[in-house]
Point group: C2
Amino acid sequence: MLELFFKKVNEKINLTEEEQAACAQYFISKKLRKKQYLLQAGDVCKYSAFVEKGILRSYTTDEKGAEHIMQFALEGWWIADMYSFLTGEPSIYNIDALEDAELLLLSSAAQEKLFHQIPKFERYFRILIQNNMIAMQRRLIGSLSLSAEENYVHLINANPGMLQLVPQHMIASYLGITPETLSRIRKQLATRR
Amino acid sequence: MLELFFKKVNEKINLTEEEQAACAQYFISKKLRKKQYLLQAGDVCKYSAFVEKGILRSYTTDEKGAEHIMQFALEGWWIADMYSFLTGEPSIYNIDALEDAELLLLSSAAQEKLFHQIPKFERYFRILIQNNMIAMQRRLIGSLSLSAEENYVHLINANPGMLQLVPQHMIASYLGITPETLSRIRKQLATRR
DNA sequence: AAGCGGCGTTGATGTAAGTCAAGCAAATCT
DNA sequence: AGATTTGCTTGACTTACATCAACGCCGCTT
């Protein structure tokens, strides 16, 4: 159940066998069906979720009903509304599954205990947050200064695989463009070689 | 020297007199002339800076020579490249002063000692980082989904005062639009009342 | 005081991306 | 299997913003 989790964690910090064994109690495993919500806007984000299998996304819906995807979480990634999770305020994001998924959930109480028992995990989560911050900064600068095509190419280069796993109109939403525009960009790129 | 600093800190956590007195040793005060760099791209960001007086900005310069402003720091705000600061990697950002400024600098070594002596500061900085994250998320969603005019209005509403303090072309750069477009937007808004 | 450079404005024109509408193929439901 | 929905594409047209160029206004310098 936690194979992928330990693989990813051990890329950043090194856990002993005992530490690994001690981890397990803190996580709740959960399966999600396609289109099922993990979090709905207005609710409090009670868990950080590690994706063992499947794909999730977080997004907001604006007044005009348009969805804006904040984040995808492929296998081996974390997803949550960190703000709501840490403060207990209601979230403005929805999180749902693009396909059937298996998750490991960590509540904030469990997280604190985990930090206390295995302090290395503080480091692990700090690294995750840092990486998240720089990714968001890059994305912001991209959206302010690059063309839709450039942003698309960067996304796909940084993340091949995604293209097969995520429907195209969601990639468009993530990039902040319409599905039509993305379709035309892809046509351009295809013929231009 | 640290009046504004304590005022801001005490909005989030409550320091006793003794704690305040103990703080002082960890900070280095520094004055910056208008246009002077606190950090140049390629260097490591050795300090987080609290702005006692003046205004700073962080920005990148792209291949075409255009500047993209990541953050402004008005009086009472913090500025740094958190990533470079925490990892020791060279920064991609420049940080400089828009006008003569007075800063309190905190090195990462000093920060650790401060956390150790007054653990409340961990909380304080965690709150800062959280607020920074949600601000960045909002800005990203804005830039993906709103018009230039809407983004401008939100910025000014969230931050009156800024308009008087920051040159208009830098606000344009922050919003990811040209100075000409911002000028036209402002004209629109002015005549439309 | 004269000269200069930076900043904001305005106009004319260009272009990337949005909108609306239609059509088709594949997936999903009954 | 037939019906319905969902996702992707394509075309015609519109729109928001960029680009280029010119001009006036201050605040510097000397």
